[in-house]
Subunit: 307 residues, 2 copies
């Protein structure tokens, strides 16, 4: 095999109660990445179809992740990377992670999979570090493992694949503003009270339990964020109205996806997820804000080969 | 039925990663409480066998919990309470909670169980508030529900009974010092960094997952406390040596039980739990510190009627 094409999906992280450690994999929306072996050693990005992203491998997350991988193997050939972006950078649904994770997944397949999923997460995180300034595995983990994931430790690469309750479905809606992860991180307070920590961790713990027991009432009660959401919500136009509309339309919960501006709502049925999408769309139309929205299952498979 | 005798066990809370919200129920060590109907209305504590605890119902947790319960029902008779304490106050294994939970459980049984477990937790918490200054359900919940419990919200009384992995067993060892919960709470820092909050909540979330999956490696990695343990450990003689001995003897994890001074270790077998008890006992003997120790299963049943 000399060439491979993969589809690397978007991902939703934080989910209100799991700042920096919780995430799930989206379906259908993502990057399409073609990697081809080249006689020349090293990595080259020959094309990225949009968003003016740099093709310099030292300035592009996919190039950085691929180079991190190259350091661990000795090959007498190289790779050419072509990326068709399906996620706009700064959306809050893991645009950079889709490229980082997708490229290392593709290269690993091309060289007969010497690396485990956990090792691929380690390489993909190098791309994440480049954009956010520190190591995060919350987006790349669900892309590479599928479904819901919990990052217990980035340092130890202790990452848990969680259950994916049947029928759970997401509505994603993104007001058309760009919010850089680095800017969105700046509004997060550096310290929290012990009482808030206890409440936040109780919610996360309860959410984990709800995934195992498929207790949607508990899930609804636990997808709550009293620490980060109040500050980040200020950066997202109409956030509280969207949340209110989603909950009233039957969402289990609604919150900021990643560092925003994308907003996620979780529902128990495709029908509810689409009702939410329609109502939220109407609202954005009524206030003259451009937006982009879709419904997605929780993708258990994650990144995959498509050709 | 005019009289009932119940056994209300001790409990271990916090478990390193779940400060104020996580707990499990012990077996065999606990209070024996006899409640008898009286023609006179109201509640009376006619005897407590030791530790010079007050029998004044306004100064005793059992009396306070029972009175909270009385406010919600209209009875033309009352109750006499006799308590045989099996847990020394200030031990760190829920002495006050055993009395509070036991008495409301007993009264409820005597009056044909009009109250749910959750309502009993609400009454028992009044006793806890009296001793610690604020509402906590982390000790009373595992006593009343059995097994492991998670308190998502004290305010909403949202309390989750977690799985009890087969074969999991605890060693409890308590240096003979008294540590008041209120004093032990004073050393807890009021604020934590967001990074520590993320790490602590990741550990708690991973621990919850480990209970569902019976993944003992994950459990071991997640019973970690970088926030409270470092400060509270200073109040407990030989804590780090005990922890070291326990882990080296095969414990899954070891930490402070509740607010201390009791120390818990979790093991996968009765044999390991007893090896830990023996080795830790030898250590306390060698440094001339009095101690008290035992091995206990995780008690799935909780408080129970014994006569």
């Amino acid at each position: 095999m000399d060439s491979i094409k993969v589809f690397s999906p978007g991902s939703v992280t934080n989910l209100s109660c799991g700042y920096d450690i919780l995430g799930f994999c989206l379906d259908k929306v993502g990057d399409t990445i073609t990697v081809t072996k080249t006689p020349e050693k090293g990595v080259k990005i020959s094309s990225i179809d949009k968003y003016n992203l740099p093709t310099n491998i030292n300035q592009n997350v996919a190039g950085i992740a691929a180079q991190a991988m190259m350091k661990d193997i000795n090959l007498d050939y190289g790779f050419d990377i072509k990326i068709k972006k399906g996620i706009k950078p700064g959306s809050g649904i893991g645009s950079s992670a889709a490229s980082s994770a997708g490229v290392v997944f593709a290269i690993n397949k091309l060289i007969d999979s010497p690396f485990s999923d956990i090792e691929l997460i380690r390489f993909a995180m190098e791309g994440e570090k480049f954009v956010s300034g520190s190591y995060h595995a919350d987006n790349v983990s669900p892309i590479l493992l599928g479904g819901f994931t919990l990052v217990r430790s980035v340092k130890d690469l202790d990452i848990i694949k969680l259950p994916n309750p049947k029928g759970l479905i997401a509505t994603i809606i993104r007001p058309e503003i760009e919010l850089k992860t680095s800017d969105s991180r700046k509004v997060v307070k550096l310290k929290v009270t012990i009482d808030k920590m206890v409440q936040q961790s109780a919610n996360l713990a309860a959410f984990i339990s709800s995934l195992y027991t498929e207790d949607y009432d508990l899930m609804s009660n636990s997808i709550v964020d009293e620490i980060i959401e109040p500050d980040r919500a200020l950066l997202i136009p109409e956030f509280y109205n969207i949340k209110d509309i989603s909950i009233k339309s039957g969402a289990i919960a609604c919150g900021i996806s990643g560092s925003g501006p994308a907003i996620f709502a979780l529902s128990k049925s495709n029908k509810t997820a689409n009702v939410i999408l329609n109502k939220v769309s109407s609202h954005f139309n009524s206030v003259n804000i451009n937006y982009n929205g879709f419904v997605s299952i929780i993708n258990s498979e994650g990144v995959k080969v498509i050709d």
